[in-house]
Amino acid sequence: MSSSLVSPLGRIAVLPSAVADQIAAGEVVERPASVVKELVENALDAGATSVEVDVEDGGKRLIRVSDDGTGMQRDDAILALARHATSKIRVASDLVGVASFGFRGEALPAISSVSMLRIDTAPADGEGTRIRSAAGELLGAEPAARRRGTTVEVSQLFYNAPARQRFLRGARSEWRAIADTLTTIALVRRDVRIVARQDGKAMFTLPPARDLRDRIAALWGGPYAERFLAVDDVSGPTHTCGLVERPADVGLASRRVHIAVNGRAIRDTGLVRAAEAAYRSTIPAGVRPALFLEIVMPANGIDVNVHPAKTEVRFHDRWVLERAVEAAVRRALGTFDSGAMFGRTAWPAAAAPVYGSPPVDVEAMRPAFDADGPLFVDEEPMETGAAPDSREPAAVDEPVPPLLQLRRTWMMFEAGDGVVLIDQHSAHERILYEQFMGALARGDAPSQRLLFPLTLHLTPEEEEAFESNSDLLQKLGFEAEAFGGHSILVHAVPAPHPRFDAERCLRETLASLTGDRFAAVHARHERLAATVACKAAVKAGDALSAGEMRALFVALRDTTLPAHDVHGRSTIVQLGWDELERRFGRR
């Protein structure tokens, strides 16, 4: 190690630039995939509309990236190999809001320091230059004929760094990393034609795509692309768009997550978590949706100069951004498109649209009003237990299959391809949840005034929960006022179903809302609607009459997400005939 600057003690030396480049290469160039990433990004920064990538032996022997971009003059091309040489920024202030992929001027020198490099470049057809280097040393620069654009050929990666070479994986594994890298880029830069070949074999050819769905279809096939819902939402200066998986499809195919901010693919667990939070109540705990999200936000709200590979960025106001992403995804999930395919297969094929059971039992009331019948109906069986209730409608011609209650917990019926079980509590919870969400949005929940106001004695925490939610509780139909001494007086309550126990529901709701801090309006709505729905729904163990089961079935069918309860558990489980036949040894 020859050194020009050595301290008096001879211990500390400033490293020659070749060594520094090798060290930098450790950050930027880890494996062939990082070379591909740097080179393709350079090509894109050079305005390429078509990028071709050739790889041999997983990139260990050769990586060649050709583009049709602007190309370089001879001198620029030589300078490009010097560290911190970049065409993309000039002064430090350009770093704020930098829009190009690269800008640090590290990539080419770092790559050249650990490989044999050849650059063919031409700013215009026929005016090309060929530059060769090995281990960072310029070997030559001669004119060469080339069409406009640049080809960078990296061979024998890490030939001079055996330690690194040993850490390379097999060709297949390295290729997979390269493919991932190209995929990430392809998803962001859909306008660019991207071709990749491995050992001369075309691995993928992506024509310029109209939109994200087309590109996904080109990458993984049309059916995969169809499982996504479009997200498109603007919140303040933040525009979130992209595709997210339909809740019903989540967990059924490989999960892919790609997030791009201002056209730059990044990794950010916070944003992923925010998007996943939007799925609350629609998918079971533990499964995670595939996400392709693109966020456009003001450049000064983001710092990309955090990581050499630029896969991580820093947001100035992360909280606002995450809320915007969550809201955008949630909006997409709330669309009709989101519900269209849910669990429909679990319903009887013949199920036609049903408009609910008749609201009152008109038939049963008729005898009292027969013109010549007695008005004083003593002969009639007294209907002691019957609260006014549509849940025992007279036989109505609805395509509702016969329902059987099992263990006072599930309703069972026969569908086209098997036996279907519905969890009565989950089902009712889902129905009420959607009702309550509607009521919160419209503020018109029917509120039944009480003859005898309820007095509830609350703990201080419950009282706080009441105070911070009283506006929403009122929208749901609870009219209550503080009564002093940790008590509230309830004058009116919602009346979602005849078995509804308003006092218990309110008490349990307040108990479980203690300590909640949901600032976002929608999150508060959801939390409250889910809590009240859970407390108000019939429980496992409640015996249901045939009419009640029928009404539950019909109402569930009309919900947007019948197959999932508000905790993400399954509401509907189907046991197919094939499975039964297998169990009985019939096949």
């Binding site: 059971s357 007294m382 609260a387 006014p388 549509s390 005034r449 003859l451 005898f452």
Partner: protein
């Protein structure tokens, strides 16, 4: 035990008792009927531990004794028997033989000791009530009890006995029905408040002929009703009944008088469009017109009109149509008188021009309307 009974008498007795026998029970003997042969005849009894019914039917008793027999099987057999005298005899403690014409049955039962004893109610201190009056109260009020289990008090009907009248009140907290009839009290003058399960009242209404005098007596926390042949015992619901008088509005100054059938028809029409859950409809009173309207998101809307006699300021008020319809069903007159104070205050419904002695009042709490 040995006796002979006509098929009709046996069926009559079984029908009276069968309704008190629970269909599902954890205590097997409760699904049995207690058959006791005495010198006077035979007594059949059944209970679900809340309510007990016991009735005596004429029979030719040769040998006294008692046993319990599965009620459902005995009823089914009695229904299918040929029209001949039925001979029943015990063979041992747990089995009977039943002969009728050429039909012959042996049925296993349980010893009578396993049957729960009836509540001790001393009819020595009883008072008397005309069965028909009681039935009138029952049928006009007990429909309004609560079915929801959190407030057991409201699951019962309040029966207030006073020297000059008796009154029944039932409510589920949303609507209330109250009726009182004058009584010519006989027996001990009673002032008593009882909360009776509606199931027991249903038995009273069903079992006793309207013109019968009933003896009624109170035990520790049971109530007994007795006619010469039949007795009904019921558990009472304990606790203070809410102060209903306080919630009955005294100053409702908006009054409407409507034709009951026309009102009910309009309500039924509106109900078709009203929400399944709440049956919410809007009533708008303005001089001589009652306008109905209903809007249900995703379904549609409807309006209707009815000429009424209305005095007071215009009023918009929301109701559960099912509550109104149910009350109208029990209003004994052609016209109904409705009174209101304000959109969030209780409304009352009363028969208009009722000639019978007594007072009947129903009360409904409104539903919130959002404009």
């Amino acid at each position: 035990m040995r006796f002979t009974i006509s098929r009709e008498k046996l069926q009559e007795g079984l029908t009276a008792v069968a309704a008190s026998i629970p269909t599902k029970t954890t205590l097997p003997v409760l699904s049995n009927i207690l058959v006791e042969a005495t010198e006077k005849g035979i007594r059949l009894s059944g209970t679900d531990l809340d309510i007990a019914v016991s009735t005596e039917v004429a029979a030719d008793v040769e040998q006294v004794g008692a046993i319990t027999i599965p009620a459902k099987k005995l009823s089914e057999i009695a229904r299918e028997l040929p029209p001949s005298p039925v001979k029943i005899a015990s063979s041992g403690e747990q089995r009977i033989t039943l002969d009728c014409g050429r039909s012959h049955f042996k049925i296993n039962g349980l010893p009578k000791d396993e049957f729960p004893s009836f509540p001790s109610v001393k009819f020595a201190d009883s008072w008397r009530v005309k069965s028909g009056e009681l039935q009138k109260l029952i049928s006009h009020t007990s429909f309004a009890v609560s079915t929801e289990e959190s407030r057991p008090i409201l699951n019962g009907v309040l029966w207030e006995l006073r020297p000059e009248f008796m009154r029944m009140v039932a409510t589920n907290g949303h609507r209330l029905a109250k009726m009182e009839v004058p009584v010519s009290s006989s027996g001990a003058p009673q002032t008593s408040d009882l909360i009776v399960p509606p199931k027991a009242l249903e038995q009273i209404r069903r079992l006793f002929p309207a013109d019968e005098e009933l003896e009624i007596a109170r035990g520790e926390n049971h109530l007994g009703f007795r006619s010469p042949f039949t007795a009904v015992y019921t558990r009472l619901i304990e606790g203070p009944y809410p102060n209903y008088d306080q919630v009955i509005p005294k100053d409702n100054d908006r009054v409407a008088i409507c034709d009951k059938i026309a009102l009910a028809s309009a309500l039924k029409r509106m109900s078709v469009i009203a929400s399944d859950q709440t049956h919410r409809i809007r009533l708008s009173f303005n001089s001589a017109i009652l306008r109905f309207s209903v809007q249900t998101p995703d379904l549609g809307e409807a309006t209707d009109e009815l000429p009424v006699k209305y005095t007071g300021d215009p009023l918009d008020i929301g109701f559960n149509a099912a509550y109104l319809l149910e009350i109208l069903r029990y209003i004994p007159t052609d016209e109904v008188r409705l009174t209101f104070k304000a959109p969030e205050r209780a409304a009352t419904l009363e028969p208009e021009g009722w000639s019978e002695p007594g007072k009947y009042l129903c009360l409904v709490m409104p539903l919130r309307l959002v404009d």
